[in-house]
């Protein structure tokens, strides 16, 4: 009887191990295929996905808007390559991308109402801070250029920090030199970049960083979600509004991560490990809301005003959170996480959550690959 029980347990354990191995294999294959796609789409100048015919494909985005997305996508793609283990081809390629980010003319504000240039700034800053830690970048004597460019970008970024405390990508509320509108999630991306810069010992405007952290905290609602905009008086949305967990699945991950990292660096924030786990539980319990939104052509057209482009953004930060959790806890979410990315991958290795001219497939694959690598690190330490 005892031997039968042991045999059954062993069989169960072996089955579980085999499922885990399969998940890991799926994850690695998706990373490889996504990386192949990214390498294939990199342009000669080192950038990714510049829309060469913006007027044909876009109804409102002007040339500089497209360049903003192009620089942001290049930064995310560079991060997706840098986060992977050192490899001669990948090193050359991301170094080329980092050079492009450092040497290109600074992206300007596209329009009086359009401040999409902030996307280029926040993701360039994140990529440059990651590059500053990269051994290949350091060994190839790029560190000074990287820091200098990051400093320039931070100075530009400060100009767009709203008096509300954060950042956003439109200024139609006032059309003033400094926008008033700010969002929780872009502020979170900026804070992540600024925290990394501070850790590197670069000159960071401490007051602005502290205000930005406070702003994200201000957006946090009692159910653990974050308001979309930085509102004077934040309120939980009843019904199918965006300001609750179901409309905030992607924002929860980016904002939680920013506040968690801030806390690790000594700032007072309400986000510890337990809150990260709750955020992930909220993501996977309500994941169908993002599934429904993915691929829809109109912004905010799905339930709880979810947009297609929330998908990979949220998963990228969820992947980073998995990397921070203890292995046993990360493993609970890993299969669902891998499935949520792998199922989106196209035959050519790309991933798409929203048709966005030339940038959709590239930023999708870059976020997807980077997220998978972080998540995999979380379970294979």
């Amino acid at each position: 009887m005892n031997s039968l029980l042991i045999a059954a347990l062993l069989s169960l354990a072996s089955q579980q191990t085999s499922t885990e191995a399969q998940t890991l294999l799926d994850c690695e294959r998706a990373i490889e295929r996504g990386t192949t796609f990214l390498l294939g789409s990199q342009q000669e100048n080192g950038g990714f996905s510049l829309n060469k015919n913006p007027v044909i494909y876009d109804v409102w985005a002007n040339v500089e808007t497209n360049r903003s997305w192009h620089m942001a996508t290049t930064a995310i793609a560079a991060m997706a390559l840098m986060v992977q283990p050192a490899d001669k081809i990948r090193n050359t390629r991301f170094a080329h991308a980092i050079d492009y980010l450092c040497k290109s003319e600074m992206v300007k504000r596209p329009d009086d109402w359009d401040t999409d240039n902030t996307w280029a700034y926040v993701y360039s800053l994140c990529a440059l801070t990651q590059a500053a830690r990269n051994d290949f970048i350091k060994s190839s004597r790029r560190s000074k250029v990287v820091e200098s460019r990051a400093q320039q970008i931070m100075n530009e970024l400060y100009k767009y920090q709203s008096p509300m405390g954060g950042w956003a990508y439109y200024a139609d509320e006032t059309k003033a030199r400094t926008p008033n509108w700010a969002t929780s999630f872009q502020t979170a991306v900026a804070v992540l970049g600024l925290l990394e810069a501070k850790q590197l010992g670069w000159a960071v405007d401490e007051h602005r960083l502290q205000v930005a952290i406070n702003t994200i905290i201000h957006c946090r609602l009692p159910d653990g979600s974050y308001t979309y905009s930085v509102d004077v008086i934040p309120q939980l949305d009843a019904g199918v509004g965006i300001n609750n967990v179901k409309g905030s699945l992607a924002r929860i991950q980016s904002c939680n991560l920013a506040l968690y990292k801030a806390k690790q660096m000594g700032y007072s924030t309400p986000i510890g490990k337990d809150e990260l786990v709750v955020g992930l539980q909220q993501l996977f319990t309500n994941h169908h809301y993002l599934d429904i939104a993915r691929g829809r052509p109109l912004p905010h057209e799905a339930y709880h005003a979810n947009s297609g482009y929330f998908y990979f953004f949220g998963h990228y930060y969820a992947g980073q959170i998995l990397e921070l959790l203890p292995v046993a806890e990360a493993k609970q979410f890993f299969p669902a996480y891998v499935d949520s990315i792998v199922k989106t991958q196209h035959g050519d290795g790309s991933m798409l959550d929203y048709f966005m001219g030339a940038t959709g497939k590239e930023y999708g694959a870059a976020f997807g690959v980077a997220g998978l690598v972080h998540a995999k690190n979380g379970v294979t330490r």
Binding site: Q161, S162, P163, M164, G165, T174, A176, R177, T178, P179, N180, H207, R208, V211, N214, T215, H218, V232, I233
Partner: protein
């Protein structure tokens, strides 16, 4: 001479009697024909008059129904007003005032919070001043909205409700008068047409009697 005149005289007399008979017969036939035609024409006229009476009665029923319905509707509106609308309109206007006062409180609180937020953030910028001025202007507009909502209540209590009551009373009175007038008019029309029918019937009876005599 005399002898020669006699046959002619007899012939003449004989001829003359025959003519008279013929004429009399002809006149009798013609008279009968005319009488028959007159009976037929009068009968038709009578049928037509009776049909007109049927139509008149149906139309009068419809008009009476409409007039009674108008009266019922006017009385319903009046009852509704005195039982509910008079009070509810005042309540609704007081609710409008509350909503405007709430909006004023919200705008005041938002302005206060905005100032606190801007002060705490201390990211001095003209945008902050711009937004604060807008919020102050919004507050000023909201104060006017509150005043307007208050004046709507006064307007209703002092004038509106009395005017409304008067209009509804008038509507009931008009509907009643209209019904009375209609009923009188209907009676008159019916009597007039009935008399016409009676005349025709009497005439027709006369004609038929004459016809049977002959």
């Amino acid at each position: 001479m005399l002898t020669s005149r006699v046959p002619f005289f007899y012939i003449f007399i004989s001829y003359s009697n025959s003519m008279r008979l013929t004429l009399t017969l002809l006149l009798t036939c013609f008279g009968n024909l005319l009488l028959a035609q007159e009976v037929e024409d009068t009968s038709k006229e009578l049928r037509l008059a009776e049909l007109r009476m049927t139509s008149l009665l149906a139309m009068q029923d419809l008009e009476s129904h409409d007039a009674k319905d108008s009266l019922a509707a006017a009385e319903y509106d009046l009852n509704l007003f005195t039982s509910f609308a008079k009070v509810n309109t005042e309540k609704s206007l007081r609710l409008d005032l509350l909503l405007e006062q709430d909006a004023l409180s919200d705008a005041t609180e938002e302005l206060e919070q905005l100032k606190i937020m801007y002060d705490n953030n201390n990211l001095a910028d003209v945008t902050a001043q711009m937004v604060l001025k807008r919020a102050e202007r919004n507050l000023a507009r909201q104060m006017i909205s509150v005043e307007l909502a208050k004046s709507e209540i006064d307007k209703w209590l002092q004038f509106g409700q009395f005017r409304e009551q008067q209009m509804l009373n008038n509507a009931v009175t008009s509907a009643k008068l209209n019904l009375t007038s209609l009923q009188a008019e209907h009676t008159s029309s019916r009597v007039e047409l009935s008399a016409e029918i009676d005349d025709l019937k009497a005439y027709l009876a006369e004609l038929r009697a004459e016809s049977s005599d002959e």
